[in-house]
């Protein structure tokens, strides 16, 4: 079992948990958190390199590094692991954000030890989700990722934290109820007569035995279940409140990684396993996600709380992810994954910066701030870069992702898809409006509050955190083909049946 490298994505956080449990002071906690996340980052980079090597050497299985270990034989539940390019990209994203999140919560107060314990428990869920290919195990890790969120927001949050934490948890739990239902449905219908039932994604996809009516019933369940986490309209309202109240590192992880679980699940479970229903019912969700793209952007235009602006922009961007997934063609789906990466990085950057600004000014209301460029140039420049990434400036990650999505979506000859593509395109203008509004009000212009003039610029750990994220954003923006090729292999008609329809 321990010869499989993937298992260490769960083992390392468990060791981190143990280490943090034994820690006595803040310095030790930081050391454990940073070392552990660096180890995870190193592991994911190594995995990426090794994976590319294997692929270059001609490995053509849909998933590599496969491993299965039964843990409940009565229902044939296994801990099955395996990754493809997309999972590796997601693992890389998660470890980067965990690392930067650790830096961002350098001075977390109170109860630092408990905070990191829950944070790392959450990351176990995330990593476990991305490596598993057994539906049940996947679901289990998904729940592991959700629950710590409640405590992290409820205890370390700000503002109406109890309300937000409760709302977030209940809505996501509601989503996972649908999900559970669909997973059970898939389990009972996923194999032909006389074959042992299985939760294994690859086997179910291979059998392709889910009857048509069942697909039409289960697909919406699964899609809505994951869509809630992916902030799909109209199930997105946990996102603004939740993000606004969460502490910095949690916002980063949540918007950066956890919301990606939604998009990832949508294609990996809903579309991958139920191609016929996906083909038939995609239009319903296309309309919803299309609305979410524009709606989130418009809502962000009038918010005054920095975190609310960013939360609504996440609704818009994550809407674009689901939107592109539903286009059901290689290009758009590749774009969706790139958008997931891009949005994960830049929204983490945003939330980190907002946390840093809030830590200094003690307000997040843009009406009460102004001219921060003069006071804290480093943070302001980083914020501007994040803003540019968000509004899709070429050379940063947002542009390549959005363009791939738009070109891919337009490839679809269906009139409805075309119309919604054009509507979604409009979001690039609205995004520019709200980003520049914030930048203009918050960073530029005269200093609003004279007390702010004494504030200091970023400390070294804050610089580390932001620079890492900016470098990643720029890397995707400058060398998109590398990432696109990593992702594209998965979306071939041989693997995704729906693409051939």
């Amino acid at each position: 079992m321990f010869s499989n490298p993937l298992i260490y994505f769960v083992v390392i956080p468990v060791i981190m948990l143990l280490g943090i449990y034994l820690c006595r002071n803040m310095a030790q906690i930081r050391a454990v958190a940073v070392t552990g996340s660096l180890a995870l980052l190193a592991l994911s980079v190594w995995l990426l390199v090794d994976y590319l090597g294997l692929r270059a050497a001609g490995a053509d299985a849909p998933m590599l590094y496969r491993g299965d270990w039964t843990w409940f034989s009565a229902l044939n539940i296994q801990l099955s692991v395996g990754v493809d390019g997309i999972s590796i990209a997601m693992l890389l994203l998660s470890s980067i954000i965990l690392l930067t999140g650790s830096f961002a919560s350098w001075k977390i107060n109170p109860l630092p030890k408990e905070f990191f314990l829950w944070l790392i428990l959450l990351s176990i869920g995330v990593f476990g989700f991305f490596i598993s290919i057994d539906l049940f195990t996947m679901f289990m890790f998904y729940e592991v990722a959700l629950i710590p969120m409640y405590l992290l927001i409820g205890i370390w949050g700000t503002g109406r934290k109890e309300y937000s934490a409760m709302k977030l948890t209940l809505m996501l739990m509601g989503g996972s109820a649908f999900l559970m239902l669909s997973i059970i449905g898939i389990y009972y219908n996923g194999v032909p007569e006389g074959v042992e039932r299985t939760f294994n994604l690859l086997q179910i996809a291979q059998y392709d035995a889910i009857p048509h009516d069942w697909q039409c019933f289960l697909f919406p369940m699964a899609f809505v279940g994951f869509g809630v986490l992916g902030a799909m309209f109209p199930f997105h309202t946990w996102s603004p409140d939740g993000h606004a109240c969460a502490p910095t590192a949690v916002s980063m992880l949540h918007a950066g990684v956890l919301m990606k679980l939604g998009g990832y699940g949508c294609f990996r479970v809903a579309i991958y396993l139920m191609p016929y229903a996906a083909n038939e019912l995609a239009w319903i969700f296309l309309i919803l996600t299309g609305i979410s793209v524009v709606y989130g952007a418009f809502s962000a235009c009038v918010q005054t709380d920095l975190k609310y602006i960013n939360a609504y922009s996440s609704v818009s961007h994550c809407g674009l992810v689901l939107f592109a997934i539903l286009m059901l063609n290689t290009t758009a789906m590749t774009g969706a994954i790139m958008q997931m990466l891009s949005h994960g990085l830049m929204t983490a950057l945003f939330f980190a910066l907002i946390g840093m600004i809030y830590g200094r000014t003690h307000t997040r209301d843009i009406r009460e701030m102004g001219g921060l460029m003069k006071i804290m140039p480093f943070l302001a420049v980083c914020y501007m870069i994040a803003g540019f990434a968000s509004l899709g400036l070429p050379g940063l990650s947002g542009f390549v992702a959005e363009m791939t999505i738009f070109v891919g979506s337009f490839e679809n000859t269906n009139t409805l898809n075309r119309v919604f593509t054009i509507i979604a395109c409009c979001s690039i203008v609205i995004t520019a409006v709200y980003i520049l509004r914030v930048v203009g009000k918050l960073l530029l212009g005269p200093v609003y509050d004279k007390h702010h003039e004494e504030l200091t610029d970023a400390t070294w750990w804050e610089r580390t955190s932001t620079v890492t994220l900016i470098l990643c954003v720029a890397a995707i923006g400058c060398f998109p083909n590398f990432f696109a090729n990593l992702i594209r292999t998965t979306f071939s008609p041989e693997i995704f049946k729906v693409l051939g329809m």
């Binding site: 709606y295 063609n329 290009t331 791939t404 738009f406 005269p446």
Partner: protein, 656 residues
């Protein structure tokens, strides 16, 4: 051609941006400035070498049988979508890109040099140079684009660097809002551009310009089967949308991007406000280079536009209206930079009209050549005018002509160079503007008399407002300058002025038709003295004479005239209330009419529904809580009732 020099042309400014941006704060002003100037100078030399090689070497990859070819120097895959649809970063060399390379690097170099004096001691000096380098990089990348998506990429980058430079004085709220406006308006236009690209690329299956325009590549092959624009038309298969063919839609939408960048009528409002940036920036970006990107875009796709008369007509109409509108408004502005800004809009509209009226059957596509010619001369004399205005502003510390007057005595160099600029733009021979404008008017008259007459009128207005400005600055009445009399600028500011003035004087004599034509075939310029040139000179002279009468000495003629115009003057002074209309649309309709209701809807309806569900669950639990009263008797009764009911039902089922 070896790709080394082209790569260096793109990389030097990018490197300059990175070095100045990252290390700038540690550099001294002088070091940063000279680094920027040297980097740009090197780029300029390399661009000259490239252009000269292209035009004069006569190598078979550039010219074949007298026809100039498009040459792809290098083309690197950047992002592959599907099939042939790949974004590449490349370097396309053809007459117009070579021309623009020269123009951009020259003006950029002048501006770099000039800024050393103009921006002296400003806070953020290194940042300024870094942004200039970024802009130069983006603009160069734009003009050498081998495919329409590369163009879009750099188009966006140009917009962003323009945003950064307009908002250079970031603590000034007006600069911040101007930069925001510029970015958002052009972004809106880019939306059209993007959709146009999507439509075009979907049907043709390619992004490459060489495929669209059907020019045969040097090695005799093309990437696709689509070798002529006719095939592009064929690939659309006659698809129509709302009565127009989809190709027309695509082309018009792409032109919309051009309208945004080139400030054509409904989307022109950002350009006057963009004058909030430092004046050299206005000279570089908002007069000479970026704003002609729209013209360049249409010129790049010209063979495709020829396939759709409707799109060309649209361009002509938009251009003609804009030219007239901007000229009228320019007559009434007080801020000298705004006068120049509106004059820029008007001149770019000239180029657009010229492209719009160009047809291959009329004088071998004279309009195309004329447009590019005017682009070239205009870049020179308008940069000259802006830099001159910068020197004036530097001297009197105000943008308004009311603070100036009689300056010819104090600033002779600026006076002479400014006058040359004015003569050039007014179209007085032998200055360069005469030649290019004459070609444009010829092209218009060849197409139809209406356009010709209309544009001649606009040309007259041009001469009038430029000389109005000239007289108001250098003659009119001398205000009280106090102890610090204005004086000429230092040498690094004067040198670019003199250089550009010289270029404006003599570049009209270039045989432009030898270099730039729509299909690469050289063509001889004939000046139609009797039909077009003489009348237009007469119009210009008359306009200048009128300006002389009205503005040479201080008098009350202008005030009377303004009063007599029954509101026209006020309306023009307020730019015909376009800004107010936009403010109404954005604030009242979009902001208050869409965004706020959506935010309200989200907070109250959607969120309210979710909270309502929670409330219902709570109410339900409160309602059914009394059932769990702790009263054993009630439990027993309920239980008994259930049991008996079950028994009763069983009985009924069995009995019946």
């Amino acid at each position: 051609m070896e790709p080394t020099i082209p790569i260096l042309i793109l990389c030097l400014p990018l490197l300059g941006f990175l070095v100045l941006g990252l290390l700038g704060p540690k550099m001294s002003h002088k070091a940063a400035g000279w680094y920027g100037i040297l980097s740009m100078g090197a780029t300029m030399v390399l661009a000259y070498i490239t252009a000269c090689t292209y035009f004069f070497s006569g190598a078979p990859e550039f010219i074949e049988g007298g026809v100039r070819l498009q040459h792809v120097v290098f083309n690197q895959d950047w992002l592959n979508f599907y099939k042939e649809l790949t974004i590449r970063i490349g370097f396309l060399l053809d007459p117009i890109s070579a021309l623009l390379l020269v123009v951009i690097t020259t003006i950029s170099f002048c501006v770099h040099l000039y800024s050393l004096g103009y921006m002296e001691g400003e806070k953020g000096f290194q940042r300024y140079y870094a942004f200039l380098q970024l802009f130069s990089f983006s603009m160069l990348g734009l003009v050498v684009a081998t495919n329409i998506f590369q163009m879009y990429i750099f188009w966006e980058l140009v917009g962003a660097s323009s945003y950064l430079l307009i908002g250079f004085y970031y603590q000034r709220p007006s600069a911040v809002s101007a930069s925001k406006k510029a970015f958002i308006v052009t972004r809106f236009a880019d939306l059209g551009f993007l959709i146009g690209i999507l439509i075009l690329s979907y049907f043709t299956g390619t992004f490459n310009f060489t495929d669209f325009t059907g020019t045969v590549l040097a090695n005799g092959s093309s990437v696709n089967d689509l070798v002529t624009p006719l095939n592009v038309v064929a690939s659309f298969g006659g698809a129509t949308f709302m009565g127009c063919s989809l190709l027309t839609w695509a082309l018009v939408l792409i032109f919309m991007g051009g309208m945004g960048k080139s400030a054509m009528l409904p989307l022109h409002i950002w350009l006057p406000d963009a004058m909030e940036g430092p004046t050299p920036v206005s000279a570089l970006i908002h007069a000479a280079t970026m704003v002609v990107a729209g013209v360049y875009l249409v010129a790049r796709l010209f063979p495709l536009y020829l396939m759709e008369e409707a799109a060309l007509t649209f361009i002509t109409v938009v251009g003609a209206i804009t030219a007239f509108y901007a000229a009228v408004v320019a007559c009434t502005q007080i801020d000298i930079k705004r006068v120049l800004a509106f004059s820029t809009i008007s001149q770019i509209a000239f180029m657009m009209v010229s492209l719009g009226v160009a047809r291959p059957e009329i004088h071998e596509g004279l309009g195309y050549m004329a447009s590019m010619f005017h682009l070239f001369t205009h870049a020179m004399f308008k940069a000259l005018l802006f830099l001159g205005a910068g020197a004036l502003i530097h001297a009197v510390h105000s943008n308004d002509y009311t603070a100036m007057g009689g300056l010819r005595k104090y600033m002779p160099v600026t006076h002479i160079t400014f006058l040359i600029g004015c003569l050039a733009i007014a179209g007085i021979p032998p200055f360069s503007g005469f030649f290019s404008k004459d070609e444009i008017l010829s092209a218009c008259y060849e197409n139809s008399f209406v356009w010709g007459a209309w544009m001649s009128m606009v040309a007259g207005l041009t001469a009038f407002y430029m000389f109005r400005l000239y007289y108001l600055i250098f003659w009119w009445d001398e205000p009280d300058y106090g102890h610090h009399k204005p004086h000429d600028a230092p040498w690094m500011m004067s040198l670019p002025l003199i250089f550009l003035a010289l270029v404006s004087c003599c570049c009209g004599f270039l045989h432009f038709g030898k270099f730039v034509t729509w299909n690469g075939e050289p063509y001889d310029i004939h000046i139609n003295w009797t039909g077009v040139a003489i009348p237009s000179i007469i119009i210009a002279v008359l306009a200048i004479a009128l300006a002389t009468v009205m503005y040479r000495k201080k008098n009350d003629l202008p005030a009377k005239f303004a009063k007599a115009s029954c509101g026209l003057w006020t309306a023009a002074h307020n730019r015909f209330y376009w800004d107010e209309i936009y403010l109404f649309i954005t604030h009242k309709i979009i902001f208050n009419g869409i965004c706020r209701p959506i935010a309200w809807f989200d907070r109250h309806i959607i969120d309210g529904t979710m909270d309502g569900l929670a409330w219902c669950a709570q109410r339900l639990s409160v309602t059914i809580r009394p059932l769990q009263s702790g009263n054993v008797h009630s439990y027993v009764y309920v239980y008994l009732f259930g049991a008996l009911l079950l028994g009763g039902v069983t009985a009924a089922v069995v009995l019946l």
